[in-house]
Amino acid sequence: MDLSFYIQLLLNGVVIGVIYALVAMGLSLIFGVLEIVNFAHGEFYMLGAMLAYFLSMNVGLGYWPAVLVVTAVAVALGYVLYEALLGSLRGQSFERSILLTLGLSMVLQNGAVFLFTTTPRMMQTRYSYSNVIVGDVRVSVMRLFALGLGLLAFAALYLILYRTRVGRAMRGVAQNREAALMVGIDPRAVSRLAVAIGIGLSGLAGAALAPVYAVHPLMGFSFVFKAFAIIIIGGLGNISGAAIAAVALGILESVAGGFLPLVMADALAFIAMIAILLLRPQGLFGRGVRV
Amino acid sequence: MTVALLQVRGLTKRYLGLTAVDEVSYEVEAGTVVGLIGPNGSGKSTIVDCISGFQPADGGRWLLDGHELTGLSPHRIARAGMTRTFQTVRAYDELTLLDNLCVAAQEGDGVGWLQALGRGSRLRGVEKAAEARGRDLLTTVGLADYARAPAGILSYGQRKLLAIAAGMMARPRLVVLDEPVAGVNPTMIRRIEQVIHRLNAEGVTLIIVEHNVDFIMSLCRRVIVLEAGRKIADGPPALIRSDPRVLAAYLGQRGAAARGHGRR
């Protein structure tokens, strides 16, 4: 049993876990603040990756500028999404919001398939073939960049949620909506920002991982289901719980994937979710329990 | 000495670090109409939510006719004989008024699921009886004309009447009315008052939670007063009216209370 093999798996797991966390935290933020499960969340991840691909392969942008542009576009898309669609739904129409975002996901996904076909594309960057080698462990530079981006995004999100007024307002609404509203928080402003941040995180995750795995219109589809499972495991509405569960899942999947067929590792998320529901329904960390 | 119909002992509820209800105890005798008043935030609605099972209590127990209700889910408490209305008036807007009432009656009448599907004569008999009682109650509250109308067309005051009628369908021992006259015009207030009298005359025990102090004082022979989660007074209206603690609790709202308008 090769130690470096394990370390390799662990590192890969951390990278994918961090990316899972970005997507799951965005989903959790939107759910916590608006009580909406954003079915189309994976599609913004996919669009982020597709846009990054397009910018770097067709427009010739470098990796970092492409990521920056994609994130900005994603945040803007989040605003548009809220204003155009989600804002007109009130908190109590949970089923309507799921169906609305499902419809959006159908439009985006199938539209992308129609326009771009399902052929996977590989995004090449200047760093694509570079690796960092420490002893027997080889890590591609792109993965390291993805990890770095993810951690940067974590830090930014933490700063927003814990050090700004509007971030506190978001946490307040996610924890106890009625109390927050009574205190005079403007739900629309908070919701708009939550959606913008959530979609932004999703797009950033897509752009970060675009050079690592293949890019194709259906990549968001399975991703988002895992994100759903993650937020249940972490605890509905608990943003940091989602992050922790995400990273843990990434590591678990990676390590298990070293020994089991890959798709079995894929099923881990759902098996874990079912186990959590049967044993500890409020999730590992419950709602609103901050770590 | 008979056991009181409702016994509440040491009811406690905490919310976000605040103690909304603090060791409240009281008893309600069968056949009485008891008022529950108090300034904003005194815990009235929380008590109702707790004893009807909609909010978990942090401490205390409550019994109906000697049967333990503590910790039961809302539908079990309803089947045990205590129903309630809601501050935010609730009705099934898409169902007819009669259907609204028949739903309220169906869980307690002993008809099982298979019988319900079987459409046998037993079921028909039970449904007919429920319908007849429903029409009766609609007549009592003055909504008989709308029996086949969808509940969504009713005015706010009419919805309150419907809610009271629905609360009566299953022949409960105890009905808790949560702000039955809030936001309602004076004519309707009088109508609701009459309805309550008639229901009480038929033997139903009522607890009425209200902001409208005048309404409570004229309707109830016994009034419980809450402040900041604690019971501060309990007795006939005359005594309550002159109780210095009650006056102090309503200080600043006293003038408003005397005019019969609760403050939101």
């Binding site: 007109s88 169906l99 099923a267 529901l277 | 599907l117």
Partner: protein, 326 residues
């Protein structure tokens, strides 16, 4: 009650007409549409029961459908069961699974149930692909034999022609809808509607929301499982594509357009939408884009579908002055 008799007469006429179609035309294409309609109407009817009547958004129907298909296929090919028994077992298994996922997630919230039902459907797909020793993996179980059904009276019916499956699936669809109709027009259906319309009010009146929700889930799962068991024999193959999300999207559209909670609305829309795709000859992707757009528009503008629009007209009639009898 002339209205009731008229409606019953029309229904019988319609069903008789549907059964007569294979005698009028042997066109296999028409028969295939009929099978598709029968199957989808059962799926969307069950979804309507869970979502339209009880208010529980669920994505699990396709999971039950596929579980029924695989169970029937395996029992018939490996254990020599009859098709009746295999399909029935598929339905029962699906219902049990439905109860488990329903009970475990409804304790938490209906949000959790929606998410779990979704993950359940995806998990089914993964299991079908990966548990090769059970499900044969991506290849599935092809070459399902032509079933022979034992009918009362000692008759044996060999389902060799497309028309046979047409009769079988249509017949089951009629039975399934009769059962659904029986439930929704009874006090059980009334309780489900009460739960959807105002759950706290229903609770305060003694209605136990969990038991009715589980009933709706179990019944819809049972019907979906049985129709799945029959459907795979029509296809003569069961493979992981039976869990395709496409089925879920189509069922949802049928329920949304027909009107959640409207028995006839959903039945009608499932008929129209079964025939439509081939009439319009869109590619699947564009059709899905269109469905997605319809979903968005429906949620923003007319969440009640056709049935809801009819309901609002009924309401408006009551609101007109003089509508109330003195």
């Amino acid at each position: 009650m002339r209205g009731g008799w008229l409606r019953a007469f029309l229904v019988v006429l319609g069903v008789a007409a549907l059964f007569a179609i294979p005698r009028v035309t042997g066109n296999e294409y028409v028969l295939a549409l009929g099978v598709s309609f029968a199957t989808f109407s059962v799926l969307s009817g069950g979804l309507n029961l869970v979502y339209g009547y009880t208010g529980l958004l669920s994505f699990a129907q396709v999971g039950f459908f596929g579980i029924g298909g695989y169970t029937a296929a395996l029992l018939v090919t490996e254990q020599d069961w009859s098709l009746w028994a295999g399909a029935a077992a598929g339905g029962v298994l699906a219902a049990l699974v439905g109860l488990v996922i329903g009970y475990s997630s409804l304790r938490l919230s209906r949000h959790a149930f929606a998410i779990v039902s979704l993950s359940f459907a995806l998990l089914c797909l993964i299991v079908a692909l990966e548990w090769v020793s059970l499900t044969r993996g991506a290849m599935g179980i092809p070459g399902l034999p032509v079933p022979t059904l034992s009918l009362p009276g000692g008759l044996r019916w060999r389902l060799g022609r497309p028309a046979d499956f047409y009769y079988l699936l249509l017949g089951f669809a009629v039975v399934a809808h009769a059962v659904i109709y029986l439930v929704v027009t009874s006090r059980l259906g009334r309780a489900m509607r009460a739960i959807k319309l105002n759950e706290p009010l229903a609770q305060s009146q003694g209605v136990n929301p969990l038991s009715y929700k589980l009933l709706a889930i179990a019944l819809s799962a049972l019907l979906a499982g049985i129709v799945g068991g029959l459907f795979v024999f029509y296809l003569t193959i069961v493979d992981p594509s039976i869990f395709d999300f496409y089925y879920t999207e189509t069922m949802l559209i049928m329920v949304i357009i027909g009107g959640p909670g409207s028995f006839w609305g959903v039945l009608g829309s499932s008929a129209v939408l079964s025939a439509l795709p081939d009439l319009l000859r869109f590619t699947t992707d564009l059709r899905m884009v269109l469905y997605g757009a319809v979903l968005i528009a429906a949620m923003l503008l007319f969440p009640g579908g056709v049935g809801g629009w009819l309901q609002r007209r009924r309401l408006a009639r009551w609101r007109r002055p003089g509508a109330v009898a003195p």
